[in-house]
Structure formats: C-alpha cells, structure tokens
C-alpha cells in the first residue's frame, strides 16, 4: 500500500499542475482571440450603419460595455477575476449568459460522448482480448483487418455513409437528430445509434489493437503459466490474471483518446447529425464572433481532459502498486 502522506502530496501536486495547465490554455485562447483582426463589435457595425446611426460613438459604447476599451492586460485580469467568481460572460449571439447556454447544451454532448465511449471500450476490450487469445486464427486476422479499417476510416465520412445507407436508402433512421425527444427514452437511444457508431468506431478499433497487444504480452508472462499450472480454468486465468494486468496501459490510451473524441470527433459528429451539443454551439459561436462562448467551451474541454488525466494518474497508483509517484 502507498504511504498515506505522500499519496496526498502527490494528488495535491497533480491538482496544482492541472490548474496551471488550465490557466495556460485560457491565456492562449484569450490572446489568440484578441489578436484576431475582427472585433466582437464588428457584428453590430453592419446593422447600425444601415440604420444611419453614429457608428463611432456606438462602437465605443459597445466596447466600453464589454470592457474592450481597457488595456489588454486589464481585460485579461478582469476576465480571470470574473471566471473565478463564476461569471463566464455574456453570449450576445444567443442573448443569454454563457453559463446558461452551456447548461442547456452540455447534455447533448455528454450523452453522445458517454454512449460512444461505452460502445468503444466495451467492444474494443471484448474483440481485443478474443483476438489475442485466438492469436493467428482466422478470427484474429479478421479482427485485425477490421481494426485497421476502423482506425483509417474518416469518421465524418463514415457518418455520411451511415446516413446514406441507413437513412436515405433504407429509411431505418432519421437523417437528423430530433431534439424534441426526451433524454431518457428508447426513441432518443435509437436516434443516437448512427452518431454513436460514427464517433465510436475509430476509438473502438484503436482500443482493439492496444488491448490485443497488451493481452498478448501478458499471456506470455510467468504468472500466467503458474496460474495455468495450478489448474485454474481459462476463464479465471484470462478474466482475472491477464485482463487486470493488460488493462493498465489501455486505461492511459483511453484517457488520452478521450480529449480527441471530445474535440475532434464529437465536434464533427454533432455537426453532421445536427446534435445541439457544445461542439455545435462553439462552432456557431466562432462564426458569430461570440468569443465568450468560445473561451468557455475551450476551457471546459481542457478542464474535462485534465480531470480525466488526474483520475488516471490516481487510479494508476491504486491499480499498480509497483508505480511510485514522485
């Protein structure tokens, strides 16, 4: 067992480090948005010119209201200050506080990502272990072949092909996600089938390969031979001895992959299927110069990633007592 004091110290250090990284991500986003040539006030401009108002004055008023007339470092510090006080700013393209907007939309991203990860992890482990146990059989070759395909298939194209086959040609599913469906219903689950396959396939294929490699490595270990020699049934040897050891590196891969799923895959999947999640709203926000939303979604994504990294680090020390934390 790890010593209690150093464990606490280790976790504390990881938390502080995560806060530092989150600050770095925020800072980068903030300055990136400010060096851009377009100002949030530009959107007002076009409509106001059309009305024949005094544009110069109005720009100044809008910028003053949003604090954009202050020096950059004051804006930066103000922003951090309000973030720390739970004020995530105002989204003027949707006319509501950014936090409200996120409260409405996060569920759609969450259900999509959760179901996709469950799909990917469950099938990835199942196929990976089976493939390793049956190494060099036909089943193994087929699994390996399909995992290569799964890794290589562009997920946005897969999404379109699924729509083409199952929605357009066969008419089994709707081409668009229906937002009026209640969250916990079979109809909603059915509506998520294609998006989940679209988002989950790449990850599932990748996990299959890692699980297979990791399982193969452990199958050769001495403790497996010992377990077999003791006369333990295959089910126990593989399900308990091998799987537990094989899962360690896989956990890291899954956690590492998660940020890619959240940001690359979910983003595109939401756009293809019209799911109004965080990806969709940040996408719209970018086109509307609604920077408060962009900063918030970026930061939330980074925080989720950091949180899972932290959990992985901590879980590791419990899963593998050999790991020392310094």
């Amino acid at each position: 067992m790890p010593r209690k004091a150093s464990m606490r110290e280790y976790i504390l250090r990881r938390v502080i480090y995560a806060i530092f990284i989150a600050w770095g991500v925020f800072t980068l986003t903030f300055f990136l948005l400010r060096i851009g040539p377009s100002s949030p006030a530009d959107k007002y401009l076009a409509t106001l010119v059309a009305k024949g108002e005094n544009v110069e004055e109005l720009i100044a008023a809008v910028e003053a209201r949003q604090g954009l007339d202050k020096p950059l470092y004051i804006q930066y510090l103000d922003y951090i200050n309000s973030l720390l006080h739970g004020d995530w700013g105002w989204s003027f393209s949707t006319s509501m506080p950014v936090m409200e907007l996120i409260k409405i939309h996060w569920k759609y991203s969450f259900q999509l990502i959760l179901l996709s990860m469950l799909f990917a992890v469950f099938l990835g482990i199942l196929i990976g272990v089976y493939s390793a146990v049956k190494q060099y059989t036909k089943a193994d070759y087929i699994a390996t072949f399909f995992s290569f395909i799964g890794i290589s298939i562009p997920n946005f194209w897969l999404g379109i092909m699924l729509i083409l086959v199952f929605s357009v040609k066969l008419g089994v599913f709707k081409t668009y996600y229906d937002t009026s469906l209640p969250m916990f219903s079979l109809a909603n689950l059915k509506a998520l089938v294609l998006p989940v396959i679209t988002l989950g396939t790449g990850s599932m294929a990748a996990y299959t390969r890692y699980v297979r490699a990791s399982t193969l490595e452990n199958l050769r270990k001495d403790f497996v031979r010992t377990a077999r020699a003791k006369g333990l049934p295959d089910r126990v040897v593989i399900g308990k001895h091998v799987l537990r050891n094989a899962m360690l590196p896989v956990v890291t891969i899954i956690m590492f992959d998660l940020s890619g799923v959240v940001f690359g895959g979910a983003y595109l999947t939401e756009i293809i299927f019209g799911i109004p999640g965080l990806g969709q709203i940040s996408f719209n926000a970018i086109f509307a110069d609604d920077y408060g939303v962009v900063v918030a979604v970026t930061l939330i994504g980074a925080l989720v990633t950091l949180f899972f990294n932290l959990i992985t680090d901590i879980a590791y020390t419990y899963l593998d007592p050999r790991i020392r934390y310094e």
Partner: protein, 300 residues
C-alpha cells in the same frame, strides 16, 4: 544504397501490408504530380453534363416535358468520358479528385514536416539541456497537448481566413507535441551513452552534438512518427474543408465531400468517391507506418 537503409528496407518490406501501403502512396504521389496534366480543368463547369453517375452505374431522373406537360423518367448512364461521374455543376469528378490528391499530399507532407522539425528540435533541446529548459519546454508541451486542437484550428482559420498555407502553418505549429515528447524520451536515454559523453568531453559544440549526433540517432522514431502523422493531417484538412472552412480556391477531397453531403439522395457518388480515396490514403499510411515501426523495433 546505404547498408543500413537496405537492411531496414528489407525488414519493412517483410510486411505485405506495408508494401501495399508504399505502392499505393507512390502511385498517389505520381498521380498527384502528373495527373492534373491529363485530366483537364477540375473547375470547368458544364451544366449540360451535370449529375452524371460513374461509369457502370445509372440513375433515374425525373424530367418535366414542356410540350406534353408531363413528367417522364429518363435513365442516365455513366459514360467513359466522365468515368467517375460529374457533380451538380457538371464538373468532372476524376479531375477534381486528382487535383484533390495534390492538395491532400501537399498539406499532409508540408504540415507534418513543419511539425516534425519543431517537435524534434524541442524534444532534443529539452533532453539535452535538462533542468529549467527541459521543465519549461515540457510544461509548454503539456499546455499545447491539452489545448483542443481542432477547435483551435477552426478558430484560427475563421479569424484569418481560409488559405491552404495558413492551414499548413497552424497544423504544423500545433501538431508537434507528440513528436517532442517521444524524441525527448529517446534522446534522454541517448544522452547518457558513452559516445555522447565522449563528444562533450572532446569539446564539441552543443549545436553539433544536437544536429549531428542526437537527431540522426532518433531518426527512426521521427520517420515512424512522420508516416503516422501524415494521415492525421490529411484528415484534419479534409475535416476543415468538410465544415466549410477549406481554401475555396482549391478542390480538396474534403470540399468535394462537403458539396456531396447535401445531395446524398440523388448524386451519392459525389460524397462516396472522395471519402473512399481519403480512407484508402489513411489506410496506406497506417500500413506503412506499422511496417516501419516493426522494422525499427529490434525486439521483433
């Protein structure tokens, strides 16, 4: 040929899939370079020949006849003149896809090259100097790794306008983190080896040790990383074009896909064909990367 190159070449070609990947990539490069001279102008609009299916396929069009005032069904067959069909403006898909291959490879190779240079220099510098330099560089790498890459790409391309070169620079400037980490850990283990120690004792300059001795020794990792990174970059560009942020002046695979997405029920091939090419290209690079990794792995 260098003896070492020959040795690794042989080991890589042991894998049939890697060989297939290499052949595909070579063909694609040749097509991308010379193809556009044969296929004609990808932007040539010809409404008389719009929505033609690929050769061997046929679709039914409903045509309104002005004289009789009735709808008649016309069967349109694909012809050899446009073997892969045409889009809704009558542009030849073969010509578009060939010029798209050029775009994809251009982006993939240049952006990966840029990312590899940055990543290798940061990784090696970090490992070689250690201490504060290492700490600062690796913390910066961590921040960049946590940064939502695709969101950043969308953001920058939107702010500064979609141009192919900007996309390359942004992918290059953000995509180096994995390489930096891997090169660092490899260089760290090299640093303690005798020949590097000897060079330090002999008074070689830092620059010389890094560029003449450390980088060549981590080259195998760099080659594998390059092969595995290229498809990711190609996909990133395709995804950007797919959501409407591609360079409007070039026909990239992602842009064709984007256009085809809206007419899936009629002209399905416009979305299917660029996707198949994207998929095969990514697959080929993955096969080759896998073969190279095995070839460079002395335990196999």
């Amino acid at each position: 040929m260098n003896r070492l190159v020959k040795y690794y070449w042989k080991r890589t070609m042991r894998s049939r899939l890697a060989a297939f990947g290499l052949v595909y990539i070579i063909i694609l490069v040749i097509v991308a370079i010379f193809g556009p001279f044969f296929t004609g102008d990808p932007n040539a609009v010809n409404f008389a020949e719009k929505n033609l299916p690929p050769v061997g396929f046929s679709i039914e069009h409903s045509v309104y006849d002005i004289k009789s005032g009735e709808f008649t069904t016309v069967v349109v067959k694909g012809s050899l003149k446009h073997p892969l069909g045409t889009d809704d403006k009558g542009r030849d898909l073969l010509a578009m896809l060939v010029s798209g291959a050029r775009v994809s490879l251009y982006v993939g190779i240049l952006a990966t090259g840029l990312a590899l240079i940055i990543g290798s220099v940061i990784g090696v510098t970090s490992a070689y100097f250690g201490g504060v330099v290492d700490n600062a560089l690796m913390r910066f790498t961590d921040i960049m790794m946590t940064f939502p890459f695709f969101l950043l790409l969308v953001l920058i391309v939107f702010i500064f306008g979609p141009s192919l070169n900007l996309i390359i620079v942004v992918i290059g400037l953000t995509g180096w983190t994995g390489t930096a980490r891997m090169v660092r850990s490899e260089a760290l283990s090299l640093r303690t080896r005798e020949f590097i120690q000897a060079l330090i004792v002999l008074g070689s300059s830092n620059k010389r040790i890094i560029f003449r001795h450390l980088i060549p020794n981590v080259l195998s990792i760099i080659i594998v990383t390059a092969t595995i990174s290229i498809p990711g970059v190609i996909l990133a560009e395709a995804a950007l074009s797919f959501i409407g942020l591609g360079d409007p002046s070039v026909a990239s695979w992602g842009r064709i896909l984007n256009a085809g997405q809206d007419s899936l029920d009629t002209t399905w091939w416009v979305a299917v064909e660029p996707g198949i090419l994207l998929f095969l290209t990514v697959l080929a690079f993955n096969f080759l990367g896998d073969g190279l990794r095995d070839a460079f792995d002395p335990t196999k």
